[in-house]
């Protein structure tokens, strides 16, 4: 192995030794010194544009941007001299001079990197006057609001869309003072092939990008006594939510989350994990049928709505490869409004189903065609993890003091195979657990499929089930999905089954999850920490296979018949449509 060359330097008088090629920013972090940043994001955005991260390097003519400047032998760096602090302060004050500084009503109030920098540097927000841009707010999609009046042109969203998703739907348009973030031909987001993943929201340091909130709809539904209001949470929500209340990343707060929702007055507090179990039954059966009857392979999972929209825009020729299964969110709503409404003797029109999702694209999905099993939309309101946290605060609940609650029966009962849906590889692992048992015709001890775990962008495995080699692949982040899709299109892929999640690392890192600052994103492996909480819960669980969920068995025995039955098809499956790009 080639030896890594170490470089010795001094930062604020302290000796530091780091591998050659390290930036000053990273070297300083290693020495326990924090340098503020704004435009820099590890792995995706090192453009040296904002100059918030400047430091003094002895002998250099001017201050240097530490996020892109590599260390060299004998270098002497000062990160906190008066000169450096003044320069950063002026930079931020200039940004603030063309910024809609309405913090009090801003979605990012108290969770804003610009606000924090301004405070840390002691900025005078009104120091520089002059011209201010005014932009229309783009609220044309059901999922994202873009407010360029708050944009500081760090281009982190642009980098996320291009590098995580391989899409580059948004970029910087025009030049000079008129420069702004927008889509091609300054079209509305609703008129371009944006998939609604929300990764751009998650990296935005300020309030320029946020989900279209449905909080008021939830409150209105709760106040309408003629409605039976159900709430249910996706697997990743319990893993992310705690971060909004000061818990460390990777805390599972399921119990307190359930209690919080119950205290808000919902008629039932259910778990979308149940519908994930149901998805495994339907999707697993669909897969076996395709495998045995010469159906279109590889079969592609259909849980991730941004992924579905991506295929519809970019690979309409591969729509037949998509599983016809609705996503767990939609299956959940569909079962509520058919089976459960019948059981309760309630008109589905008088039922409101609220889903809590780590995802912004779910807001789009609920309005798709062919997602109304009972003649009314399967899901009425889809809120993000962040919106649930806001609701909890709005209701005045002291989250960390809440007792541990349990989901209601029956639709709150689930296996931890369903929980795995939150992490990349989880749907595949859950499916394999059930497929192996079903195809072998007996209960196997093998439960953990570690080959499909982990946060790598693309994973492959060959699993021998009942004497047959099943070749599977897993990808997260649409830039990675593209690699697999191009292979399929070119006829170069011999996979049988592929799981795709749009967000890097899967739903735990979804566009609706708590926003992490660049400092956290740059220094922690957030998706791995969150996924760890999922696998920890699964390893402690007694019920780890979807087909072993007693409520699932009951649902088929008493209502649906068998997986992929005619009735199951009517309620739990859907269709897709080719969409144009522009």
């Amino acid at each position: 192995m080639e030896e890594i060359k170490m470089v010795n330097l001094k930062i604020n008088g302290q000796d530091v030794s780091v591998p050659a090629g390290t930036t000053i920013l990273d070297a300083a972090r290693k020495a326990g010194i924090k340098i503020p940043t704004l435009c820099y994001l590890r792995d995706i955005n090192a453009i040296g544009a904002c100059r918030v991260c400047v430091v003094e390097v002895k002998g250099a003519r001017s201050l240097v941007a530490s996020c892109v400047y590599p260390v060299s032998e004998g270098m002497e760096v000062t990160t906190n001299s008066q000169k450096v602090i003044e320069a950063r302060k002026t930079t931020v004050e200039l940004i603030l001079s063309d910024h809609d500084k309405n913090c009090l009503s801003c979605v990012r109030n108290q969770n804003c990197e610009l606000q924090r920098l301004s405070e840390e540097l002691g900025c005078d927000a009104k120091r520089f006057g002059g011209a201010v841009n005014t932009f229309d707010i783009d609220a044309t999609t059901p999922y994202i609001v873009r407010d360029n009046n708050k944009c500081i042109l760090c281009r982190r969203c642009v980098a996320a869309c291009k590098n995580y998703q391989g899409l580059a739907i948004i970029g910087t348009n025009s030049r000079g003072f008129a420069t702004h973030v927008g889509a091609a031909f300054d079209k509305d987001l609703a008129d371009v092939p944006c998939v609604g993943c929300g990764q751009c929201i998650n990296v935005c340091p300020v309030g320029a990008l946020h989900e279209k909130e449905e909080i008021d709809d939830v409150i209105a539904a709760l106040q309408d006594k003629s409605k039976y209001v159900i709430i249910a949470t996706a697997p990743s929500v319990r893993i992310g939510l705690g971060e909004e209340f000061g818990y460390p990343i990777g805390s599972n707060v399921e119990g307190k989350m359930v209690t919080a929702m119950r205290k808000m007055g919902f008629n039932a507090v259910f778990d979308v994990d149940f519908a994930a179990d149901l998805t495994i039954m339907e999707e697993g059966t669909e897969f076996i049928n395709r495998l045995n009857n010469g159906g279109t392979l590889p079969m592609l999972t259909s849980c991730s709505p941004a992924w579905i929209k991506y295929v519809e825009h970019n690979y309409p020729d591969l729509i037949p490869n998509l599983s016809s299964c609705k996503s767990p969110q939609q299956m959940f709503g569909a079962i509520c409004k058919t089976y459960y409404a019948e059981k309760l003797g309630i008109d589905p029109k008088d039922m409101v189903v609220v889903s809590v999702m780590p995802c912004t694209a779910k807001k789009f999905e609920k309005g798709r065609a062919n997602q109304s099993a009972a003649g009314v939309p399967d899901i009425d309101i889809a809120i993000t993890t962040r919106e649930l946290a806001k609701l909890i605060r709005r209701f005045g609940l002291i989250f960390n003091e809440l007792e541990e609650g349990k989901f209601d029966a029956p639709l709150g009962i689930s296996s931890t195979a369903g929980l795995l849906f939150g992490a990349t590889g989880g749907v595949m692992e859950a499916a394999l657990r059930t497929l192996a048992d079903v195809l072998e015709g007996k209960e196997l001890d093998k439960i953990e499929y570690t080959a499909v775990r982990g946060t790598q962008g693309i994973k492959e495995a060959v699993v021998n089930i009942a004497g047959k080699d099943v070749k599977v692949a897993v990808a997260s982040g649409l830039a990675n999905a593209k690699v697999l899709m191009d292979k399929i299109r070119a006829g170069e892929a011999d996979y049988h089954f592929i799981e795709i999640m749009s967000c890097p690392g899967g739903c735990v890192n979804g566009g609706g999850q708590p926003i992490k600052s660049a400092y956290e994103r740059n220094n922690l492996d957030i998706k791995a920490l969150r996924a760890g909480a999922i696998y920890a819960a699964d390893s402690k669980s007694e019920l780890r296979k979807s087909h072993k969920n007693p409520i699932i068995k009951e649902l088929y025995d008493n209502y649906l018949g068998e997986p992929n039955s005619h009735k199951a098809h009517k309620i739990l499956h859907t269709s897709y449509e080719a969409r144009k790009k522009y």
Partner: protein
């Protein structure tokens, strides 16, 4: 200033132009950094860069339409509006400017309902501001295609424009 104005003039590219662009793109897709030369070629070929042309470039070079648009709107050598049937240009050289060329431009913008560099939606008139065209004795000077008008005042504009109805 919020949004960049996009011309509504229908695209009228010819099959010959399309063939020329295709040939150029086939060549450029093999080399890295082909976007700038592609845009320059297309700007020269069509006189502007409508969505039809930018889409073609995006597809050929395997970049997104926004990436093409971002570059096309960053450099002032590119334009998004076609040249009108009648190109109205006002000289903004020092002599003309001093004699009120700015007022002419302002009045034309109002009359035509467009900014400099744009074209009316019916494709008839486009408006540009030029550097000194060397007729300083006639300042302020404007031209409509190859016809030159000297010592123009704002009240003459209606009469001049009426010649091109």
């Amino acid at each position: 200033m919020a949004r960049i104005k996009i011309s509504k003039v229908p695209f009228a590219g010819t099959p010959e132009q399309e063939k020329a662009l295709d040939a150029k793109l086939a060549e450029l897709k093999l080399v890295p950094g082909g976007l700038m030369p592609a845009l320059q070629f297309a700007q020269e070929l069509y006189g502007y860069l409508p969505i039809e042309v930018q889409t073609k470039i995006a597809e050929a070079l395997d970049v997104s339409l926004e990436e093409v648009f971002g570059v096309a709107t960053f450099y002032s050598q590119f334009t998004l509006s076609p040249r009108g049937k009648y190109q109205v240009s006002v000289c903004m050289g020092t002599a003309c400017y001093v004699k009120g060329a700015g007022d002419l431009v302002d009045a034309l913008k109002v009359k035509l309902g467009i900014e400099s560099g744009e074209c009316t939606d019916d494709g008839k008139f486009s408006l540009i501001e030029t550097r000194c065209i060397g007729c300083c004795g006639l300042a302020p000077v404007m031209t409509v295609n190859s016809n030159v008008y000297g010592k123009v005042t704002t009240n003459q504009l209606d009469g001049i424009m009426a010649e091109y109805k």
